[in-house]
């Protein structure tokens, strides 16, 4: 090494001010959502103390806030959810498979595709009107029954299920389909053995998220004339049914402050627990599926 040319070891410094500033800004943006949600949850949870107990979730509603229970709405919501899952999963996956694997990329397909995307954004009250006309009126499912409620809300979340299932199917690498076709598999064999197993975790995630939206829906239930309060748990598809958000909404309009704070908070916490339970069960199912494939 030449000694007469001294090496310059002072590279200087590059300013990090903007790096740091942006990082703090991004952190703040993250915290706005999380902190406000946490504050809301804490507030509701504190209000629910003393109100959310075994009696609350095992009793029917009652004019006396200290006697009021949530059981019919709780069972009603779960029944509606199960039926919605049974309706939307096969229909949604079927539609997604058709659009992704069978349909030619023609004008009609694009028209259908555009409409599905638009339907996903239609306000839920409009679906309530549709449900009232179609399921209650035309098909005679009855005002405010389990059947009418489930079909109406199922229609509402169907576009979301279809779109997320399409995305999951599209994410299956084409090399996998090629491998299957190259082995002399038919289209159905390829979909059944290669595409669907691989897309299933994604399809399930989409369906779960859609169900999460469905469990909070109130407007379409009001439109199909679901009763705000029922005193018995539904025992058939034709039973009149109320749902948790509807019952909570009703309580919130009662004059007694015990209802407005304590009972409503207990209902909200129950609703959130059910929502989280459904999500966790579905995530476990999804992970199992993922490991098998």
């Amino acid at each position: 090494m030449a000694t007469d040319t001294p090496t310059d070891t002072d590279f200087g410094q590059v300013s990090r001010t903007k790096d740091v500033a942006f990082r703090l800004l991004a952190l703040a943006a993250t915290l706005v959502g999380i902190v406000s949600l946490a504050a809301l949850l804490a507030n509701v949870a504190v209000d629910a103390v003393g109100w959310l107990n075994w009696g609350f979730i095992t009793s029917p509603p009652h004019p006396d806030p200290y006697e009021a229970g949530f059981l019919p709405a709780l069972v009603g919501s779960i029944a509606i959810m199960l039926l919605i899952a049974l309706i939307t999963f096969p229909v949604g996956v079927g539609a997604a498979v058709y659009l992704e694997e069978y349909a030619n990329d023609g004008l009609l397909t694009r028209f259908i595709q555009l409409n599905i995307a638009n339907l996903a954004g239609v306000p839920s009250v409009v679906y309530g009107l549709l449900g009232l006309g179609l399921f209650v009126g035309l098909l005679g499912f009855g005002y405010g029954t389990v059947l009418a409620a489930a079909f109406t809300v199922a229609l509402l979340i169907l576009p979301i299920v279809i779109i997320s299932a399409q995305e999951a199917i599209r994410a299956v690498p084409d090399s996998q389909r090629q491998a299957s076709y190259g082995m002399g598999a038919t289209k159905w064999q390829t979909i059944r053995n290669v595409v669907l197993p691989r897309a299933m975790p994604g399809i399930m995630t989409g369906t779960i998220l859609a169900l999460g939206r469905a469990i909070g829906e109130t407007a379409p239930l009001i439109m199909i004339a679901a009763p705000t309060t029922v005193f018995g748990i539904p025992n058939s598809f034709e039973s009149k049914v109320s749902a948790m958000p509807l019952q909570i909404y009703t309580w919130a309009s009662y004059p007694e402050t015990e209802f407005q704070y304590g009972v409503v908070a207990a209902g909200v916490v129950t609703l959130l627990i059910v929502l989280l339970t459904i999500n966790s069960i579905a995530i476990v199912i999804r992970n199992r599926y993922q490991q098998r494939t």
């Binding site: 090629q178 491998a179 299957s180 190259g182 082995m183 289209k187 053995n193 290669v194 494939t293």
Partner: protein
């Protein structure tokens, strides 16, 4: 995407139902010796279009039984397109269209009464990137048997035989139930070869099967291909000329624009090609 439709062809009026196997080659014949004895596959004036782009121009060549036939040429020369037109994988591309004739055992595979799914059960395929299914090694190899309804007998025995032929059995014998994705790249490609030969096809098409592999894995695949030619007709696309020279019996040279320029014994192509352009390509002057 359609599995068994999507391509159209013009049927020439002189085509008497696919028995034109002795058809003489026209002016489109490449240099060299494009006719071979005991040909299994015969391509006659085969054109392939993707939309308005013509990817292959009047390809005329024969592929001999139980030999290794290499298709070489620079990128975009149409060699993969030709390979995929043999088992009608091009049908899967909506805009692909085929003109001309391609005979497999004297039956034109582009005749209306040919089911491409049935055709692919006779002509297996191995792809450029190893593409095992996210299933166990056993289920990967058994996939073809299952979809083809050949899983009535002893599936396990057939799986073992296929893995042995693919020179993979020793390495995976104790882990047949673990995922095919846990194998190394070279092992995955041999797994794909085992999967292709398990249902016992007549022809195996290979689309640059070693291009994604390291040299050791490549040499294993090359040894394997030479062994496979004892029982199967092998057609292999490669951009590696040394590989073609090492393992193939016949070589077809495609040059730019989708023209088959010369077809002959591999030795002849590499030692004394008729075409100057082929000689330039072989010696690395272009491409």
């Amino acid at each position: 995407m359609t599995a068994n439709g999507g391509s159209s062809r013009s049927v020439s009026a002189s085509d008497p139902g696919g028995s034109r196997s002795d058809a003489t080659m026209t002016d489109n014949a490449p240099l060299g010796s494009p006719r071979v004895d005991n040909a299994v596959i015969k391509s006659r004036d085969l054109d392939v279009y993707y939309g308005d782009d013509q990817a292959l121009h009047g390809v005329n060549m024969d592929i001999p039984e139980r030999k290794v036939t290499a298709l070489i040429g620079p990128s975009g020369c149409g060699k993969s397109t030709f390979l995929r037109s043999i088992n009608r994988m091009n049908d899967l591309i909506d805009i692909a269209r085929v003109d001309g004739d391609l005979y497999f055992h004297d039956k034109n595979v582009y005749d209306d009464d040919v089911d491409p799914v049935a055709l692919r059960r006779k002509i297996g395929m191995v792809f450029q990137k190893p593409n095992p299914f996210p299933k166990s090694i056993r289920d990967n190899v058994a996939y073809g048997l299952r979809v083809q309804g050949k899983d009535d007998g002893d599936v396990d025995e057939k799986v073992h035989t296929a893995l042995e032929r693919a020179a993979l059995l020793e390495e995976v014998e104790d882990q047949l139930d673990s995922s095919g994705l846990d194998l190394s790249g070279g092992q995955q490609q041999r797994l794909c070869i085992a999967r292709a030969i398990a249902p016992d096809p007549e022809v195996i098409l290979m689309d640059e099967p070693a291009s994604a592999l390291d040299p050791v894995a490549t040499s294993k695949i090359e040894d394997l291909i030479e062994d496979l030619a004892e029982e199967y007709t092998v057609v292999i696309v490669t951009h590696n000329m040394q590989q073609a020279a090492r393992i193939s019996d016949k070589t077809a040279v495609f040059l730019t624009g989708g023209h088959l320029v010369e077809f002959d014994d591999t030795n002849k192509i590499f030692e004394n090609p008729e075409s100057d352009r082929v000689e330039d390509y072989i010696t690395g002057k272009f491409g």
